[in-house]
């Protein structure tokens, strides 16, 4: 009875709780606590996963069946080498960004200024929009605009900074310094995940204790990211703490080339898929081949040569390509997207009402 109804009750009540939380800020505090619980549980789940990986591979090594033993051996050896490298470099590899940046308001300012001036997202925006965006993200104090930019935007420096700070009535020059001094104390976290692989790289968070609000500085562009890395590296080399780290070495020498090689395999798979798809099996395949040919010819200069040789002015592959992409393709994609959205909506309703119970392993599982 408890085994059946307790998970159901928990899932339904928490489901409705989070629905209510999106409508009112009253539950925000409790929702934050619950989200922190998820992080805690995920640590244990990760440990369980890692132990399972080890257990299964050790079991396979011990088994009499020789199938795949060598792979298990490679996994176990690399696992222990990587873990030991992590422990050996314990003091060196942990980059405590909160402590590191808290005492360096000038560096924070320099990084943000570099990131913003190197980010194409900002450079394409007019000055007013750019500064408004910075104000809305609460990162205004970390970016002091040039006079030209201020003139274009129509803000005075005082106005620009006043949105963030109440002490704006002070002299702008004095205020600029005071803002930085104050924020140096307030910065609890300015984290940069400098060694991440994905587009999450250099996604930084400034948490200001005064306004008690998390502020995200969104993912920087590649150019901005390189500039940030260089700045941090320069700063570290001045302090002579940038030592060779074995974990980074493992990542750079083994992981990066291997994952790039695996990713490159996609190109060959795409060729195989194209070959398969181009076989005329039925009328749908014919439509596919015709549209694929148009797309190919529209993308390459050969398409124009064909049109010129055939002397047909109306034969514009690029125009056909645009039509194919923006009319049939777009409508089909939107249809799938809308249907997926509705599917998710109704599946969530099923979960909320307890009709669908994936967490309940009793009925259909083991």
């Amino acid at each position: 009875m408890i085994k059946k109804y307790l998970p159901l009750f928990t899932a339904v009540s928490l489901g409705f709780f989070f629905v209510m939380q999106s409508f009112t800020s009253f539950f925000d505090k409790y929702a934050e606590i619950l989200r922190n619980w998820v992080i805690l549980i995920s640590v244990f789940a990760l440990m369980l996963g890692v132990f399972n990986l080890l257990h299964k591979n050790l079991k396979r090594l011990k088994s009499e069946n020789g199938n795949g033993k060598i792979y298990s051996l490679v996994i176990i050896i690399s696992f222990f080498i990587t873990v030991s490298a992590g422990f050996i470099n314990w003091n060196r590899t942990i980059f405590n960004s909160a402590n590191y940046f808290a005492g360096k308001p000038e560096l924070v300012r320099k990084i943000v200024a570099e990131a913003i001036s190197n980010d194409p997202y900002f450079s394409f925006h007019p000055a007013k929009e750019k500064l408004t965006l910075l104000i809305s993200k609460d990162i205004a104090p970390y970016y002091i605009p040039e006079e030209k930019e201020l003139k274009e935007s129509g803000f005075t420096l005082q106005q620009y900074l006043s949105f963030f700070n109440d002490d704006s009535k002070l002299d702008p020059k004095l205020m600029e310094n005071s803002v930085f001094r104050k924020d140096a104390k307030n910065i609890k976290e300015f984290s940069l995940r400098i060694d991440n692989f994905s587009q999450d790289i250099a996604y930084s968070v400034i948490e200001n204790t005064k306004i008690r609000k998390s502020v995200s500085l969104y993912g920087f562009s590649n150019t901005a990211e390189i500039r940030i890395r260089t700045l941090i590296k320069q700063d570290l080399s001045i302090r002579k703490t940038d030592r060779k780290q074995s974990l980074t070495w493992i990542f750079d020498v083994f992981y990066k080339p291997l994952s790039t090689a695996f990713f490159a395999l996609l190109a060959f798979s795409i060729i195989a898929i194209i070959f398969k798809s181009f076989r005329l099996k039925n009328s749908f395949a014919t439509v596919f081949v015709i549209s694929a040919t148009i797309v190919l010819l529209g993308h390459i200069s050969f398409g124009k040569i064909v049109a010129d040789t055939a002397e047909i002015k109306e034969l514009q592959f690029s125009a056909l390509l645009d039509w194919l992409l923006f009319v049939p393709n777009m409508s089909a994609q939107r249809a799938i997207l809308i249907s997926t959205g509705l599917g998710i909506c109704f599946y969530s309703l099923k979960l909320l009402l307890g009709i669908e119970r994936p967490y309940d392993g009793e009925d259909d599982g083991k």
Binding site: F23, A45, L48, L349, L353, E356
Partner: protein, 231 residues
């Protein structure tokens, strides 16, 4: 705010009512057209004849993703079917949370890595080494789906795939035998189920969906006419 809450409450109440009304009259309503599900049942039956193993890949999504939730529901139905036919089911996971859930639902689950290509390498290797006859992909996939399904299709493995990720659909459609896309995927566990409430929920959501689509279309037409009249 008030309007949003009202809309949500209306949606929940109308959906609940629809489920209960349909549940009472399900037999006289429609017989669900589920050819693909029947095909999958047949494949599982054939697999039992040859004594093969079924590999289940729930994707790289976290447990919080709706697609991963559907994947778990679907896996439960597959386990139930495989128990009837006496087939061994194994699963691999790219998320520690999902691994734990799979481990609870199923005895033979493996955690590989959060790195999608590592998962793809493991699945491709497993299919080749163990000569697997059926692979089911269901959930959130990225580019790794392409490598897995392509290497399995080279080995003539029967593949059943389902994802709501638009970018991966073309790959699955070309490489796998059966692909369930978009909203169909969310109805799949209910379609395999014998629970009358779950079956009624499919019809109920279809009815509410029709109403929503009608609302969107009528609103579009009304707004267009209003704009035309104004101009």
């Amino acid at each position: 705010m008030f309007l949003e809450m009202l809309l949500l409450a209306t949606l929940i109440i109308s959906y609940t009512l629809a489920v209960y009304i349909i549940k009472r009259n399900l037999s006289i309503l429609i017989d669900l057209d589920m050819d693909r599900v029947e095909n999958l049942k047949k494949i599982i039956y054939l697999l039992s004849e040859t004594g093969g193993t079924l590999l289940y890949v729930p994707g790289t999504g976290e447990i919080t993703d709706p697609q991963s939730m559907v994947s778990i529901s679907f896996l439960k139905k597959i386990i139930k079917l495989s128990k009837e036919y006496g087939i061994e089911v194994s699963a691999v996971s790219g998320s520690p949370f999902m691994f734990k859930v799979l481990d609870e639902a199923l005895v033979n689950a493996d955690y590989i890595s959060m790195e999608p290509f590592a998962l793809a390498a493991y699945v491709s290797g497993k299919i080749k080494r163990e000569k697997l006859q059926t692979v089911i992909y269901m959930g959130l996939f990225g580019a790794e789906s392409f490598l897995m399904s392509e290497s399995a299709s080279l080995d003539k493995t029967f593949q059943f795939a389902g994802t709501a990720n638009n970018d991966q659909l073309p790959f699955f459609i070309t490489s796998t035998n059966v692909t369930v896309m978009g909203e169909d995927m969310f109805n799949l566990p209910a379609a395999l189920s014998e629970n009358i409430y779950e079956k009624a929920a499919i019809l109920a959501s279809d009815i509410v969906k029709i109403l929503i689509i009608l609302f969107i279309v009528i609103s579009g037409v009304v707004i267009t006419i209003a704009n035309m009249v104004e101009s």
